[in-house]
């Protein structure tokens, strides 16, 4: 099963690219040809050359080095945000599905309410209230992204909670939390993981959008989004300033989507053959 999944070209494309980005993010500082925030007024807006593979920006900073530093921030935000969103989603979804009744009704209304706000409006409103620091961005994106996971987990728990293996565990006297954590949640892992992969893509895009609007990662810290924001002022002059950071976002999103779709297809195939 896992073997088939890993054999698919879509999976490989996704995993290899994601691995590459992770390597850059981890090793970035060692590989960087220049310091990412080193201003050099003698080399402003140099096109891609042997010294600066991706050119320099309007402050003479090396685009490639900033891109590598940005990878670390974007990927960290993507993964941590999904970790938070998934944890909250599992907690609320499993609680609602397992206990049912009034608790379920209240929690699901909460999800309905949260889903009514256009995501960008909600995020921006909260940012207007808090300062746009990296920690706050992660918190906001995490706390506005759990609703899908909650619905998913609830549906899984509903379909599992009266199965024989759960009834057996209960007859042995297992506690509610043990049944949820040891028996229900692990069996709901498949769809949760698929949603989490797409969630990482969504979080990376959201961070880039916020930083592009100037409400995300604040300069001088480089992020792909605020590099694109810088590129707006050199439109028509320095194409490399918008092509490369946007290209990085594009590649990581394509890799994550490809992996996610491949995983979803495998999951669906497994479920339809198992029943």
């Amino acid at each position: 099963m896992l073997h088939d999944f890993l054999q698919k070209p879509q999976t490989r494309f996704g995993l290899i690219l994601i691995g590459l980005f992770l390597a850059v993010a981890v090793l970035g500082p060692l590989l960087c040809p220049w310091a990412p925030d080193a201003v050099d007024e003698t080399s402003l807006l140099i096109p891609p050359s042997r010294a600066h593979w991706m050119g320099t920006d309007q402050l003479g900073r090396d685009v490639l080095s900033r891109l590598m530093a940005g990878a670390r921030i974007s990927l960290t935000i993507g993964f941590v945000v999904v970790l938070i969103a998934t944890a909250v989603g599992i907690f609320i979804g499993a609680t609602a599905g397992y206990f049912g009744g009034a608790l379920d009704a209240i929690l699901m209304r909460l999800v309905d309410i949260a889903l009514c706000f256009p995501v960008m409006f909600l995020i921006l409103s909260v940012i207007a209230v808090l300062e746009p620091s990296t920690a706050n961005i992660i918190l906001i994106l995490g706390l506005t992204g759990w609703m899908g996971q909650a619905r998913l987990v609830r549906a899984e728990v509903l379909s599992l909670k009266n199965r024989d293996f759960v009834l057996l565990a209960r007859s042995y006297g297992a506690s509610h939390s043990r049944i949820i954590l040891r028996h229900l949640v692990p069996n709901a892992a498949g769809p949760v993981i698929v949603a989490a992969i797409f969630g990482v893509a969504g979080a990376i895009l959201a961070e880039a959008s916020l930083s592009f609007l100037g409400l995300g990662i604040q300069p001088p810290t480089p992020s792909w989004g605020n590099m694109l924001a810088d590129a707006r002022s050199t439109l028509g002059v320095a194409w490399w300033q918008s092509l490369f950071p946007g290209g990085a976002i594009f590649l990581i999103l394509a890799a994550l989507n490809s992996l996610g779709e491949s995983a979803r297809a495998s999951l669906m195939a497994e479920r339809s053959s198992g029943e």
């Binding site: 256009p118 940012i127 207007a128 209230v129 609007l213 409400l215 194409w239 394509a254």
Partner: protein, 327 residues
């Protein structure tokens, strides 16, 4: 159908209340007081003046009193006055609405007009070179961030080639143009924003129709149609496509709030004076009345859009209208 509708509407009430509570409290627990924004630029303003401003806006009373007050005015569509320029919130929002509506409707038409046939075509020609190349292109478009595409195209088509204007919705000399020239001027300004926003959503819709169509064509009733000897054209278009397009109703319903709220990023890139940019400007200025009004309006429209989708779906598909367990 009436019971079905009544149930849906009844479910909306607590959600509606929740929306207003969340919007109100999120924004009012803010550390940056709007009175700060009004006085920050002027260091000579005394604490006394600041207090007076706070009192003027009722910001010194307990939160729940402010909320009750705001809710009762909101029901009468009175959202108060903007902190930024003192104008009423409702006309301020209304004047940004036509531009946003125009852009989003045009782009929605493009999306449906191109996306649906493209998705259906790929499903019908499943596995052919057409399917593979179109699907690959759509996959790539799906992953491309719209603001990046916007920047690249603005750079190439707008600035380098100078074919199209890249900022705003009208030229400086707009007032002196004749009617047909005015029309052309606005149209030229809209090509890039409408086109790019359509391109990015097109991929999503098209892939969705594609998957639906493939699933529909595998259903037993399609086999039944074929076994009755119906021509392939009828099987695909009359029986297949019609069923595969049902979920599009839901998508249409879900796109209602987007039509009005617009895209914050898009409108800020292209300097379009629409609702999205008003929201952005209000967030930057901590203009609470405008933020709250837009947030609540957008959420209420989402609710209405969901309701419309349910109604539309119920009208189109009797299986939804009369659920099996209702009897």
């Amino acid at each position: 159908m009436i019971i079905f509708l009544a149930k849906k509407v009844a479910q909306m009430v607590p959600v509606l209340l929740g929306i207003t509570i969340i919007s109100f409290f999120v924004i009012h627990l803010a550390p940056g007081r709007p009175a700060d924004a009004l006085t920050e630029l002027n260091p000579k303003v005394s604490l006394e003046v600041r207090d007076r401003l706070q009192k003027l806006y009722g910001l010194d009373r307990p939160l729940w009193v402010q909320y009750g007050d705001w809710l009762s005015r909101m029901v009468r569509m009175d959202f108060g006055a903007s902190f930024a320029d003192g104008r009423r919130v409702v006309p301020k929002i209304l004047e940004t609405l036509p531009v946003t509506l125009l852009i989003n409707l045009a782009s929605l038409l493009l999306i449906l007009g191109i996306g649906v046939p493209l998705g259906a075509l790929c499903a019908i020609k499943k596995g052919s070179w057409i399917d593979r190349s179109v699907s690959t292109i759509l996959f790539l478009l799906f992953a491309a961030p719209t603001f990046w595409l916007a920047l690249l195209l603005m750079d190439a088509i707008g600035v380098k080639l100078g074919w199209l204007p890249v900022f705003g919705i009208k030229s400086i000399d707009f007032a002196y143009l004749s009617w047909p020239q005015k029309f052309i001027d606005v149209a030229r300004h809209l090509v890039l924003p409408v086109g790019i926003s359509a391109i990015s959503s097109l991929a999503g819709i098209s892939r969705y129709v594609h998957q639906n169509m493939i699933q529909t064509l595998q259903q037993p009733f399609i086999l039944a149609c074929r076994s009755r000897g119906l021509p392939e054209r009828l099987v695909i278009y009359r029986h297949g496509l019609r069923n595969a397009l049902l979920p599009i109703i839901t998508i249409l319903g879900l796109s209602v709030p987007g039509l009005v709220s617009g895209s914050v990023i898009f409108e800020s890139i292209f300097a379009i004076p629409g609702t999205g940019r008003l929201f952005y400007a209000s967030v930057m200025a901590r203009d609470y009345p405008v933020i709250m009004a837009l947030l609540v309006l957008a959420a209420v429209l989402t609710l209405l859009g969901n309701l419309l989708a349910d109604i539309g779906y119920g009208l189109a598909d009797p299986r939804i209208r009369y659920p099996k367990n209702a009897a």
